[in-house]
C-alpha cells in the first residue's frame, strides 16, 4: 500500500498517456467501423436517386447531377405493374410477419414460463431440444417440409411460411423469456395467490407486466426474422401474387438486371420498416439480452 502511494505520483502521468492511447485507438476503430457500416448504405441511397443512365457511368457520379425520385415513384405507383407488384409483395411481407409475431408470442410465453417455474420430467430435455433448433439450417428441412406442405395443401399459401417461421423465432424467444421469468421472484406470485388470485390471474397481472421488455424483444426478433426470410419463401411460393418482398425483389430484378437505381430503391424501402422498428425498440432488445440471456 505504501509502495503504491510512493510510486503513484511518478506513475500517474505515464499511465494517463497510456489510457489516452487506448481511448484514441478506440476512437479510430469506431470511425473505421462507422465508415464500413455506413458507406454501403449511403451508396445505396445515392444510387437510388440516380437515373438509370447516371448510375451506369464510369467514373461514377459521386452525387447525381440530376437527383430524381423516379425509382421510388415507380415502385410506389399502384397504376403501373411494377408498383402493383411491389406494393403487393410489401403487403404480403407485412401480413406474414405480423401473424408470425403474434403467434410466436402466444406460443413462447407459456412455454418459457413453464420452463422457468415448473419442474416436470423431461423439462431439461425439452428445453434443449427447443434450443437445438437454432443449430440446424433451413436447407435440411426444406425438402421434407416441402413434401409435407404439399401433402397438407399449404404450398403457395402464407400458412406454410407462418408455420415454419414460428420455429426459428421460438428458440430464442423461449430462451430470452425464460431468463426473464427466472429473475422475477416467485414470492410475488405467491403473494397474489394468497390474496385469492388463480395461477392464471397471477400470471397475467403480475408476471406479464414485469416481462414486457422480454416480450417486446421477442416480438421484434420474430418480426425481423420473418420479414427478412428468404429461403422458405423462395421454395414454397411460386405464384407471383403470393411472394414476400425478398423473393419478389429477387424475381423482379433477375428480369431487369440493369435497373440498379430501382434495385437500390427497393432494397432501401424493404429495409425501412425493420430498421425503424428496431431503432425505436432497441433499448428493450439490449435490456432483454442483458437481463434475460446474459446475466442469469
Amino acid at each position: 500500500m505504501t509502495a503504491t502511494a510512493e510510486t503513484a505520483p511518478r506513475d500517474r502521468p505515464r499511465r494517463r498517456i497510456r489510457v489516452e492511447g487506448w481511448r484514441w485507438a478506440g476512437r479510430v476503430f469506431l470511425v473505421f467501423m462507422l465508415l464500413y457500416t455506413a458507406l454501403p448504405m449511403i451508396w445505396m441511397l445515392i444510387t437510388s436517386i440516380k437515373s438509370g443512365f447516371a448510375a451506369t457511368q464510369f467514373p461514377p457520379q459521386w452525387w447525381p447531377d440530376e437527383p430524381t425520385l423516379a425509382s421510388y415513384q415507380k415502385l410506389l405507383d399502384p397504376q403501373n405493374s411494377v408498383g402493383q407488384d411491389f406494393l403487393r409483395f410489401f403487403w404480403n411481407s407485412l401480413f406474414v410477419s405480423t401473424v408470425t409475431t403474434i403467434l410466436s408470442v402466444i406460443v413462447a410465453v407459456p412455454a418459457a414460463y413453464a420452463f422457468s417455474r415448473f419442474s416436470f420430467p423431461g423439462r431439461n430435455f425439452l428445453f434443449f431440444a427447443v434450443l437445438l433448433r437454432n443449430m440446424f439450417p433451413a436447407v435440411i428441412f426444406l425438402v421434407p417440409l416441402f413434401i409435407l406442405m404439399r401433402a397438407i395443401g399449404l404450398v403457395n399459401t402464407h400458412g406454410s411460411l407462418v408455420l415454419t417461421y414460428l420455429t426459428f423465432g421460438l428458440p430464442l424467444a423461449i430462451w430470452l423469456l425464460k431468463g426473464f421469468y427466472d429473475n422475477i421472484p416467485v414470492q410475488l406470485e405467491q403473494a397474489a395467490r394468497i390474496d385469492g388470485a388463480t395461477r392464471f390471474q397471477a400470471f397475467i397481472l403480475i408476471v406479464m407486466p414485469l416481462s414486457t421488455p422480454g416480450i417486446i424483444a421477442t416480438a421484434i426478433y420474430s418480426f425481423i426474422g420473418a420479414w427478412n426470410e428468404y429461403i422458405y419463401a423462395y421454395t414454397f411460393l411460386s405464384k407471383n401474387d403470393q411472394l414476400t418482398l425478398p423473393v419478389g425483389i429477387q424475381r423482379f430484378f433477375s428480369e431487369n438486371t440493369t435497373d440498379f437505381p430501382g434495385l437500390m430503391a427497393a432494397s432501401f424501402m424493404m429495409s425501412v420498416p425493420v430498421v425503424v422498428l428496431f431503432l425505436v425498440l432497441q433499448r428493450y432488445f439490449v435490456r432483454a439480452l442483458t437481463e434475460g440471456a446474459v446475466k442469469h
Binding site: 476503430f29 437445438l132 424493404m270 440471456a293 442469469h296
Partner: protein, 299 residues
C-alpha cells in the same frame, strides 16, 4: 416415472404448443431426411419410385472432388466470418462502453446492417463490387492503385474473401450487442479496485473484464459459427456458388443438388453429414449454456 408425468400433466399444457410446432417442423423432416439419404431417387418429386441403395449416396459424396472443395470453402467462410465478426463486434462494444456524446446514435448506426435483410445487403454489395460501375473499383482506379476496375466476384481467388466481407458487415453487430450486454454485467467495483491496486488498462481488461465475459463470448462465438455454417442467402444471391464452385459452401451446394439438379437422395445424405457436424457443435453449445447454470448452482 409415469406417475410423475401424470402428476405434472397440467404443466405440459404450457409447453405443448411449442413442442407440437417443433415436432411437425423439425422431428418429422429430420426423420425423412435420414430415410431419403439411403435411397436412389428419380428426378421430380415422384418419390414413390425411390429404391434402396444403402450407403451409396455417402460414398459418392465422400469420393467426389466437389465435396472437398466445398468443405474447404465452408471452413474458410465459417472461421473467417466468425472470428473477424467477433473481434470487430467485441472491439466496438468495448469502444462504446464508455459514455460520450453521440454514443447512442453511433451504436444505432452500427446495428443497422444486422437488421436489414440479407437479400438487400447482397444487392447493395453486389452493386458496390460491380465490375464496370462498382464504387470500390472506381476508387481504386481513381487513386491509381489499379488500371481498370478489378473484378471481385467473377474471380476464383477473390470471390470468397469478398463475400466474407459482406457477411461480416451483416454479422458483427450481433457480436457487438451480445458483448455490450455482457460488459454491463462486469462489476464496476472490481474494475475500480483493480485500478486502485495499480492495474493498467490492459491488465484490467485481461484479468477482470475478460474472465467475466468468458461465457458470453463462448455463446456468441458458437451462435456466430452455427449461423455462418448455415448461411445461404449471401452466396446464393451474389454468386450462386460460382465461378466454378469457388464460392459454394455446403448449404448452397445442398440446395443446388436438391432443387437445381433434383438429386434428392444425395442432397439428403449431405444433410445428414451436415447434421452430424452440427450435433458436435451443438454439444459445445449446450455445454456452454449449462455451464452457466452449473456454476450458479455451485456458488
Amino acid at each position: 416415472m409415469l406417475r410423475e408425468v401424470w402428476e405434472h400433466r397440467a404443466d405440459y399444457a404450457y409447453v405443448l404448443p411449442a413442442i407440437t410446432v417443433m415436432l411437425i417442423v423439425i422431428a418429422y423432416p429430420i426423420y425423412y431426411t435420414i430415410e431419403l439419404s439411403f435411397f436412389k431417387t428419380p428426378p421430380g418429386l415422384q418419390l414413390r419410385d425411390k429404391s434402396f441403395i444403402g450407403f451409396d449416396n455417402y460414398t459418392a459424396i465422400l469420393t467426389s472432388e466437389v465435396f472437398w472443395k466445398v468443405t474447404w470453402n465452408t471452413l474458410i467462410w465459417t472461421l473467417g466470418s466468425t472470428l473477424i465478426s467477433f473481434v470487430l463486434g467485441f472491439g466496438a462494444a468495448l469502444a462504446l462502453h464508455r459514455d460520450f456524446v453521440g454514443r447512442g446514435v453511433l451504436r444505432a448506426i452500427l446495428i443497422i446492417p444486422w437488421v436489414i435483410s440479407a437479400v438487400a445487403a447482397s444487392y447493395i454489395w453486389k452493386w458496390i463490387y460491380h465490375s464496370d460501375f462498382g464504387i470500390i473499383g472506381a476508387v481504386l482506379v481513381g487513386l491509381g492503385l489499379a488500371d481498370r476496375p478489378p473484378n471481385f466476384i467473377d474471380n476464383v481467388s477473390t470471390v470468397l474473401p469478398s463475400l466474407i466481407v459482406v457477411n461480416i458487415w451483416r454479422e458483427f453487430p450481433f457480436a457487438m450487442i451480445m458483448m455490450m450486454a455482457g460488459l454491463q454485467t462486469v462489476p464496476e467495483q472490481l474494475l475500480r479496485a483493480a485500478e486502485v491496486d495499480g492495474a493498467n488498462a490492459w491488465q484490467r481488461f485481461w484479468h477482470v473484464t475478460f474472465p467475466h465475459l468468458r461465457n458470453v463470448s463462448t455463446v456468441t462465438i458458437l451462435l456466430l459459427a452455427v449461423a455462418n455454417f448455415n448461411s445461404f442467402i449471401i452466396p446464393w444471391i451474389m454468386t450462386g456458388g460460382g465461378p466454378s464452385n469457388a464460392s459454394h459452401i455446403w448449404i448452397t451446394h445442398i440446395y443446388e443438388l436438391a432443387f437445381g439438379r433434383q438429386r434428392w437422395g444425395v442432397a439428403s445424405a449431405y444433410s445428414v453429414l451436415l447434421f452430424l457436424i452440427l450435433m458436435m457443435l451443438g454439444y459445445f453449445y449446450v455445454r456452454a449454456l449449462t455451464g452457466n447454470e452449473r456454476k450458479e448452482g455451485g456458488a
